[in-house]
């Protein structure tokens, strides 16, 4: 228990220590050492500590405990998260060098890491919620880190679509992120409270056997799902993830690789066996699966048309999150029929967290180095970087091959296993549209990957002064790129090497991408332009989030202001009540005229009143 808690809290302790010095290097190395220490401990926990639940009491009246659960999900996830955080932290030492806000960055980096590790290891949902909220807060702080909102930190260009600004500054993106996740969190919190009210426990282990769940109904499950949906940027809540690219690239890597957004799908996976017990769970699993597939398709198309390096990767992240969510939902659906298959199917979904995390962390760090060295965030403004950044180019090519699912890289194996869940669920439940949708997804994925690699490293405008990234920066992403191959081999041997018809769709997409962006770049189709425009504008969803919803909220707040604030409260307290009292007061005061004969009359009236009172009372 103590070792696990130290694993979780080491980064936070390091963050707190970092506050005691103003030296940037001290802060950076303090937190980095803390994260490495945490990673080593996580490895020790993974290899040496007996699985089980360990807990100490916290707030007994609501069933809150500091409880950690060591099982086949949390142990590898903990090690993965801790090592990725450590790698990204090491990368940040150089990447954030000379930044104007090191104290803020390094404190929230450690805070974020601890919060994420709480989510991974927590067995008690209240304890998990603490990490959940911590991650939300830290993501706001880190996405909006560059609060001066300089142009080169934006997402998008300074242009408006239907009157709505289509660019996002770090401050705005941070706000978008926290508003979106808080919306889901409110439902998530309500659902946890309902679980406790109904079953008397919020322990994941205890809930797995809680018979009272049969009285729960499906609505609390849907409330619960809104937490992971918003956190994992599932459609239609994926917008915040795309604009979160305003943060430092190291933050993008942190949020997109194995943390925060993965927390949502991770929770979907670990709660699936619990929700199987709830009547009506089939609807819940369908919602999860369909939302996952929709997210994957929409985000893949966005990635295909994005014109910023990090935006392509962000779209790809959302797409893979969709795949993992769909796999988890499908596992639940299949588990309703064959309960004994459930753990295996969930493990397939979980594996894709690992497969995607390794390649995506590498890609973010690598393209962060590209942006850092080339000084632009736009695709097409710099090209042929292969000649200047050979190590980075190779690392990015390897990672991208893994991301888009080319065998034998780890991405191929984990994605294929995850999608097998979904295809099987479609087959069992006779949902015919699922398979074509997934093949389309698999076809498009390699195209956007090769587009990014081709237009960055192979073709385009060659810059004059670009150098390879420093060792401290390229070492982490190159190591991770190599890991995509090593892990692929490991999974192929020890888990499964799938060979399905899905591979044909992937290879067709790969071939198309190769032709369009490596062999014959510059092919344009005017017929596809409207479709491209819609995808490039992210299906105009920002108009909803940045135009319609704020406008509705503004109208609503004005309504509240006019009706309640000015009308009821100001009106009542500042006009009506004072007005009544002023009138009465003036009337009572004006009885004092100075005319003594009137005063005598008042006296006579008073005497009559007292007499009347004597008689009446």
């Amino acid at each position: 228990m103590e070792v696990v808690l130290l694993t979780i809290f080491a980064p936070l302790i390091a963050s707190l220590i970092s506050l005691f010095s103003t030296a940037e290097k001290f802060k950076a190395w303090a937190v980095t050492l803390g994260t490495f220490f945490s990673a080593l401990l996580a490895t020790y926990v993974y290899t040496s500590i007996k699985p089980g639940v360990y807990s100490v009491s916290w707030i007994g009246s609501i069933g809150a405990e500091i409880a950690v659960r060591l099982d086949h999900f949390s142990l590898p996830m903990g090690a993965l998260v801790a090592w990725l955080i450590a790698a990204i932290s090491l990368y940040s030492v150089k990447y954030m060098e000379g930044d104007y806000r090191p104290g803020w960055y390094w404190f929230f980096f450690g805070f974020f890491a601890t919060s994420m590790l709480i989510i991974v290891y927590a067995d008690n949902l209240w304890f998990l919620l603490a990490g959940w909220e911590g991650v939300g807060l830290a993501s706001w702080a880190l996405i909006g880190h560059w609060y001066r909102d300089e142009y080169d930190k934006w997402v998008g260009k300074e242009e408006k679509v239907f009157g709505v600004p289509y660019w996002w500054t770090p401050s705005k993106a941070g706000l978008r992120a926290i508003l979106t996740v808080r919306f889901g969190d409110s439902f998530f919190l309500a659902a946890i409270a309902l679980f406790y009210a109904v079953t008397g426990t919020v322990s994941l282990t205890a809930l797995t056997h809680a018979g009272d769940l049969k009285t729960l109904g499906v609505v609390p499950l849907l409330f619960f799902a809104l937490g992971p949906f918003t956190k994992s940027a599932q459609f239609p809540f994926h917008e915040w993830l795309l604009t979160a690219m305003t943060g430092p690239t190291s933050v993008s890597a942190l949020i997109h690789a194995a943390t925060m957004v993965k927390a949502g799908v991770y929770v979907l996976i670990v709660t699936t066996p619990i929700f199987l017990l709830v009547p009506g769970a089939e609807l819940y699993f369908w919602v999860v699966a369909v939302v996952g597939v929709a997210t994957a398709l929409v985000a893949t198309i966005i990635a295909l048309t994005a014109m910023e390096f990090k935006l392509v990767l962000a779209g790809s992240t959302a797409a893979n999150l969709g795949i993992i969510a769909a796999a988890a939902g499908a596992a639940g659906l299949l588990g309703l029929h064959e309960h004994k298959l459930l753990q295996g199917l969930l493990f397939f979904a979980f594996l894709h967290i690992v497969g995607h995390a390794v390649s995506k962390a590498s890609l973010f760090m690598g393209f962060g180095a590209v942006i850092h060295e080339a000084g632009t965030r736009f695709i097409g403004e710099v090209g042929r970087l292969w000649r200047h950044m050979k190590i980075t180019a190779v690392a990015m090519a390897l990672s991208m091959l893994s991301l888009v699912g080319i065998p034998p890289f780890v991405g191929y194996i984990t994605k294929d296993l995850a999608l097998e869940n979904v295809l099987e669920a479609g087959h069992v439940y006779h949902v015919d549209w699922l398979a074509p949708a997934l093949y389309l997804l698999l076809f498009i994925t390699p195209i956007y990957g090769l587009r990014l690699i081709g237009l960055t490293f192979v073709h385009g405008k060659e810059p004059e002064e670009v150098h390879e990234a420093p060792l401290l920066m390229w070492l982490p992403y190159t190591a991770l790129a190599a890991a995509t191959l090593a892990l692929g081999a490991y999974f192929a041997v020890f888990v499964k090497f799938p060979l399905t018809e899905a591979l044909i769709a992937v290879l067709l997409g790969f071939l198309t991408g190769l032709v369009l962006y490596i062999w014959l770049p510059g092919v344009r189709s005017e017929a596809l332009r409207p479709l491209w425009e819609a995808a490039y504008r992210r299906f105009y969803l920002p108009i909803l989030y940045d135009g319609v919803l704020p406008l509705l909220y503004l109208w609503f707040s004005r309504f509240i202001y006019v009706v309640f604030d000015r009308g009821l409260f100001d009106g009542l307290y500042h006009s009506v009540i004072p007005g009544v009292f002023e009138t009465l007061s003036n009337w009572a005061r004006r009885l004092i005229t100075g005319n003594i004969s009137l005063y005598v009359q008042y006296g006579v009236v008073g005497i009559l009143i007292t007499l009347l009172l004597l008689v009446v009372l």
Binding site: F581, E582, S585, R589, I596, Y602, G606, T610, L613, L614
Partner: protein
């Protein structure tokens, strides 16, 4: 020990022949010092507190011949307090009341302006009517006629300025000389309240009269507090405040007259106190709150009358105004609290209504007291605090701070 007061008053009367030749402040100061000594000797703390008010006024201001009036008024007040505490015949209290009225009339008119005389005259007329009714009522009641009590209560309504018999109070405070207004608050009203307590403790109560008095007192506090909300000069704000405080005092006595001793004996700081004693404590503390604070406020004004904004700033009178507002732990907080505790000892429905009424009325006073506070705190510099304002602010604060100890000593 009444003879001590008699000798003092006789001596003052004899000395009055030199009033035209002697600065009266010295007479007032000497009389106050003697009353201070007598009060200390008799074990009469109220007498000590009141005597020092007169001493402060006489040290602060040239009084001319009106120093004698000040000396008479403070003598009357200490005598009335002594009559109540010593259980002396009530007739001495009535004499004290008459003496105070004549003296305060003079003080109200002392600047000899048209406004002063108008304010003083109204006080004299209505206070005179009140005294007649009190004396007549007391005489009838002493012979066992219940109507006598009614007449006496009616007289106190005139004397204390309870609405609708209150109109004169506004003119007397606003138009009378500030020293006269200070004396009116600190001596005349306090004297009247001690006489009320004397009659309260010596005459048998009557439920119907008590209830009628309670209804009038409750209505009066509302009228005063509502009217005070838009009062624009310091004198008028203080006048409405005075009406409200007298209404609180009368309400306490009337409540006990109406319902008698409750089944549940009230407690103060864990000490059981009879309802009659608690009502008397409310009356005394209301008298002191209003008297001390207003003596301080009027006692620092340099003008001929107070129907205006103060021409000079005062820091210490902020404390006096906060005491009138009832801010804990200042003196003014306690009588309101004790009145609430008294009400709570009666049946729940009555208690709830009375507590609500008292609390709402107390809260309602906040705007006009804050306006008065701004008047004195934001008036033009320099600060014009004097011995009277310093003393009254200090005493209001000190008594408020030690109130639990006072209750412990008294009961």
């Amino acid at each position: 020990m009444i003879d001590l007061f008699a000798y003092l008053i006789l001596a003052l009367s004899a000395a009055a022949v030199v009033a035209g030749r002697l600065e009266g402040r010295y007479v007032a100061a000497a009389t106050s010092a003697m009353l201070l000594a007598i009060s200390a000797y008799l074990g009469l703390p109220i007498g000590v507190v009141i005597s020092v008010v007169a001493l402060s006024l006489s040290l602060d201001w040239r009084m001319g011949a009106f120093g004698f009036a000040l000396a008479f008024s403070v003598s009357a007040t200490v005598l009335a307090a002594y009559v109540y505490y010593a259980g002396a015949p009530p007739v001495y209290g009535l004499i004290a009341l008459a003496l105070a009225t004549a003296a305060v009339y003079g003080l109200l008119a002392m600047e000899r302006t048209r406004e002063n005389v108008e304010g003083a005259m109204k006080y004299l007329v209505f206070s005179g009517v009140g005294k007649v009714l009190i004396v007549l009522g007391y005489a009838l009641a002493a012979y066992g006629w219940v109507q006598g009590l009614y007449l006496a209560v009616l007289g106190f309504m005139f004397e204390l300025g309870i609405a609708p018999f209150h109109a004169w109070v506004v003119d007397a405070y606003a138009l009378g000389s500030p020293r006269g207004a200070a004396a009116l608050a600190a001596f005349s009203k306090v004297t009247a309240l001690f006489v009320l307590l004397t009659l309260f403790s010596s005459l048998p109560g009557d439920g119907a009269v008590g209830l009628a008095a309670l209804v009038v007192a409750l209505a009066s506090m509302l009228v005063a507090n509502v009217a005070g909300l838009t009062a624009k000069t310091l004198g008028r704000v203080m006048a409405w405040s005075s009406i409200a405080h007298m209404s609180y005092a009368l309400a306490a006595v009337a409540l006990v007259w109406w319902l008698g001793e409750p089944e549940k004996t009230p407690q103060l700081f864990g000490i059981y106190v009879s309802a009659a004693n608690l009502a008397a404590l409310v009356v005394v503390l209301e008298a002191l709150t209003s008297g001390l604070a207003k003596a301080g406020i009027f006692g620092y004004l340099t003008t001929a009358f107070s129907d205006l904004l103060p021409p000079r700033r005062s820091a210490l009178n902020v404390l006096n105004i906060l005491s009138l507002l009832g801010l804990p732990p200042l003196l003014g907080f306690w009588p309101k609290l004790f009145l609430v505790l008294l009400a709570l000892s009666y049946p729940a429905a009555i208690a709830a209504f009375l507590v609500l009424w008292i609390v709402v009325n107390s809260a309602m006073t906040t705007p006009y007291y804050l306006r008065a506070l701004r008047m004195v705190a934001e008036a033009p510099s320099p600060i014009a605090d004097n011995i009277t304002s310093s003393y009254t602010a200090f005493v209001s604060t000190a008594i408020g701070l030690v109130m639990p100890l006072v209750v412990y000593v008294l009961f």
